[in-house]
């Protein structure tokens, strides 16, 4: 304890010492310590310094970055208007190069301050102080102050804008609870304690906008980021060119970024793959397992991977028969041959999962045994249900999904493995767009859920009463579950949180609406000439500012 100086304590969160202790006792992992410490406002540097006093200040850069060059990536591009309304990561990839977030969750899934120099949470986690970074200019020349931040926050909470932040930040209790202390200091008074604030600040619609923002990013691409939007044509391309006066310096002492130009060209996954292989693009965005297979031995390709909570839950609508009966749901869950699925759909790349939307990549994940493939038991359950309902097996059901990433493979495999379990699954596989039109409507479907850095971000979004009509595609909610979730959001103690998670996981496994075979291992396949880029669990291109090209 004594090693912590008083002045440190002044800012640092009172929980930090305890955290340190836990770490020293080996109750929390190194990674978890770093996450939580930084989360609570301890500067990353300090945190690193604590756990490994003798570690070098900065990992040695392999080589001095080269400047210049155009970085190309094939990626589908759709409509962008109000950043706060962003609903898809591709769009965010473009926006985030121009505008930035208050916090920054790194590839290591650790969240650090970014546009705010630091934040401090009260003990009860209901009051958060955000200290805005000074001297940051928007690319239209005006200086960023608390006003811009507050303006942006108001946009998030403005019903008219309709941002998905609105749901996420429900615990903020509306704009009136945002207090401007001074030009560079904002205080948030939360209605309910929440540990996720920094993470939430990095939720992809959350870029900081100039106070005079009119509502269309394409008309008004003003932000603090390293790049300037030169051209945006939906369905065609986005061209970004380096900004000269970016606030962050590169290793060579000059302002970032190293790249001259960033170019996103809209193309289908297949076209993208071809383009990458023929050297037309530098990055193959969002590679599918098949792409990995195609590229893993490609001499010019470099594969960056990271574990994530990206997944393809098989979700069942609990408001429609037969899925309203838990026996049927459980039966289907039992019908998953997880290993086979992982093999067929992802060539074994990924982590086997339990039937809960909580991932090992999430902090405080509670380790559970992977359920075995048990068609016999499934059949019994189903038999019981069927005889009750006067149906006969096999039970005919229709599984809808999109012919996009690994879904078809998962579907095909399930169809097969579920046969023994008494399910006769018809497949209804359409193009991605076709599925997104009805993803909340189909009674049985496979929806892809993107990575979220903590479980408390996704669970409220999809498995609570409030979220019905928005993101709750299964209409499933459970009072006990919701209650526990509230606690979890307010619970700082990792151990305690873990124990809550255990309960949550149990509930979902026991009566939840999703069957889940594996967690995707996110990978980024880049050309060897690309340096300083890292795979991010969210598939976001978070590190382009420090990416550079060699030859």
């Amino acid at each position: 304890m004594e090693i912590i100086k008083r002045k440190d304590r002044k800012d640092a969160h009172p929980y930090i010492p305890e955290l340190k202790e836990l770490y020293q006792k080996g109750r929390v992992t190194r990674r978890e310590f770093l996450r939580n410490a930084t989360l609570l406002g301890m500067s990353a540097a300090a945190a690193y310094a604590f756990i490994s006093p003798f570690a070098p200040k900065k990992a040695m850069a392999a080589a001095m970055p080269k400047r210049g060059g155009t970085w190309k990536c094939g990626m589908s591009l759709q409509l962008i208007d109000h950043p706060a309304r962003l609903s898809w990561t591709e769009g965010a990839n473009v926006v985030r190069q121009v505008s930035e977030y208050l916090s920054d969750t790194g590839p290591d899934n650790i969240t650090r301050p970014w546009l705010c120099e630091k934040w401090v949470a009260s003990e009860d986690l209901k009051t958060w102080d955000l200290y805005i970074r000074k001297g940051v200019k928007f690319n239209d020349g005006q200086v960023m102050t608390a006003d811009d931040v507050i303006f942006t926050m108001n946009e998030w909470l403005n019903k008219d804008v309709g941002s998905s932040m609105l749901g996420l930040l429900s615990y903020w209790g509306g704009p009136q609870n945002i207090e401007k202390v001074d030009d560079y200091h904002i205080r948030l008074h939360l209605v309910s304690p929440n540990i996720g604030v920094p993470e939430h600040l990095w939720h992809y619609p959350g870029v900081i906008l100039p106070r005079n923002f009119e509502g269309d990013f394409i008309k008004q691409p003003v932000g603090t980021g390293p790049f300037i939007l030169e051209e945006f044509a939906e369905g065609e391309r986005a061209v970004l060119k380096a900004r000269k006066d970016y606030w962050k310096m590169g290793e060579d002492g000059q302002p970032l970024p190293y790249l001259d130009k960033v170019m996103y060209i809209s193309m289908s996954a297949d076209a993208g793959l071809a383009a990458f292989q023929s050297g037309q693009t530098d990055v193959h965005y969002h590679p599918r397992p098949s792409d990995y297979l195609a590229l893993k031995d490609n001499p010019m390709a470099k594969i960056l991977t990271v574990d994530s909570s990206y997944c393809y839950p098989i979700r069942m609508r609990v408001d429609l028969p037969p899925w309203d009966d838990n026996r049927v749901r459980t039966a289907l869950k039992l019908c998953q041959d997880r290993k086979k699925t992982l093999q067929l759909a992802a060539y074994g790349l990924g982590k086997l999962a339990i039937d809960a939307h909580i991932s090992p990549a999430h902090p405080a994940y509670c380790e559970k045994p992977i359920p075995a493939y048990n068609p016999k038991k499934a059949k019994e359950l189903l038999q019981a249900y069927a005889s009750e309902k006067g149906l006969k097996l096999p039970l005919k059901v229709k599984l809808a999904t999109k012919n996009d990433e690994a879904e078809p493979e998962i579907a095909q495999t399930l169809k097969q493995t579920a046969l023994a379990g008494g399910f006769d699954i018809k497949l209804d596989i359409t193009e991605a767009g076709g599925y997104w039109d009805r993803w909340t409507e189909v009674d049985l479907g496979i929806t892809s859920w993107t990575h979220r850095s903590i479980a408390t971000m996704v669970l409220p979004l999809a498995y609570t009463k409030e979220s019905i009509g928005a993101w709750n595609e299964t209409r499933w909610y459970d009072d006990e579950f919701s209650a526990l979730l509230k606690d979890a959001e307010a619970q700082l103690d990792v151990e305690k949180r873990r124990s809550i998670m255990c309960k949550l996981e149990d509930i979902m496994q026991e009566r939840g609406p999703i069957a889940l075979s594996y967690w995707v291992q996110i990978m980024e396949i880049v050309n060897k000439r690309v340096h300083g880029m890292e795979a991010h669990p969210t598939h976001m291109h978070t590190t382009l500012r420090s990416t550079w090209l060699d030859g």
Partner: protein, 432 residues
Amino acid sequence: MVRFLVRSVVSTIITILLVSIGLFVLIEVGSGDISVKILGVFSTPEQRASYRAQLGLNAPTWQRYLDWLVGNDWRAKSRMTYPLITLKNPKTKEVEWWADVDGQATRWKMDKGELKRLVRKEDGFSKVMPAESDWIKGEGTEEFFWGVDNRNNAVKFVKGSGEEVWVLTKAGLRKQGDGPREYIPLRKGLIRGDAGLSWQYNRPVSMILKPRVRNTLVLAGVAFVVVMPLALFFGILAGINEGKLLDRIISITSLGATSTPEFVTGIFLILIFGIWLKVLPAVTMFTSSNAIFENPMMLALPVMTLTAVELGYVARMTRASMVEVMDSAYIRTAIVKGMPYWRVVFRHAIRNALMAPITIIMLHVNWLIGGVVVVEVIFGYPGLGKFIFDSAIFGDFSAIEAAAMVTVLIAIITRLIGDLAYTLLNPRVRYA
């Protein structure tokens, strides 16, 4: 001949009209209640009704058809106090509808029952001003006003009774007071180059469409220019060597080529030239809107793909008609007249032999367009075909309607050209 031409032009116009009707009916009616599709099944009947009103979907189909085809601003004009004008948004270049109030572009909204003017400033944004004076006495005590709202609708506000309307925001539907009583979603209509708004991109279809059409025309054009001479050459070559080895070779290869789907040819061309040999760009990357001109090489593979399929077909056509011509009586005459073989072929045969293929080729253009769809999808070529495909998948109706109309237009026009070419080639028609 005059008669022939006039006839074909007239019939072309009728055809286009028929097509447009068919298209409209098929989509607008065939696709059921669009509001459900947009608002989702969560939406209540009341919400849908309100939304349909805003889209003008409550109007009878024929009216919507007319609006779609020739626009409805004239309908709005007759009701409105101030003249309608269209302005280009300086940033997006989109066309916006405003009313011209003594030189100032103006729109209106109701705020707590009070009519407000939104007067446009140079930078494209607008400032709010009171406009209570604009009310007009209607029959009885009712006071109303026809103006433009900021969703490009001509709307009828009624004093004191703001409608409760459901407005669609990205966050979903939201109930809003102070709504207008009636809507006319302003549009210039297809024939005036306004194909409405694309739901997928939330931008005017015509704006997105223009570059796509250009790209496709370039692609198809190049393919056409490459294919035709080759095809005709091989066709004629085979034709005059009927039954000989050369004929066999040409015929069989061309049959093989036509019978291999574009998508297969395309894939393998990419694999071989783009990836294994790396001699040609595997896909078409539009690094700028003029990429095709800056880097024409990227057309190579798509064109090759189209060629593979088209070449064979046209060649077979040409061959057939060449064979037919070659054993016609007048060729016999020419030979018996002691004309040298090549003179017979070039002076006497070819001209007649080309008549049939040319008309067929022109009729065949919509087959070519079909191919273009596939090719564009494979090569990620941002053209008309891919656009239609995407819109169809997305269910972006106004986009499909417009795009389909364009393809049909192309098809019909080329056919017309075919007719012309035929008349020019065939004196029987020319002097009939």
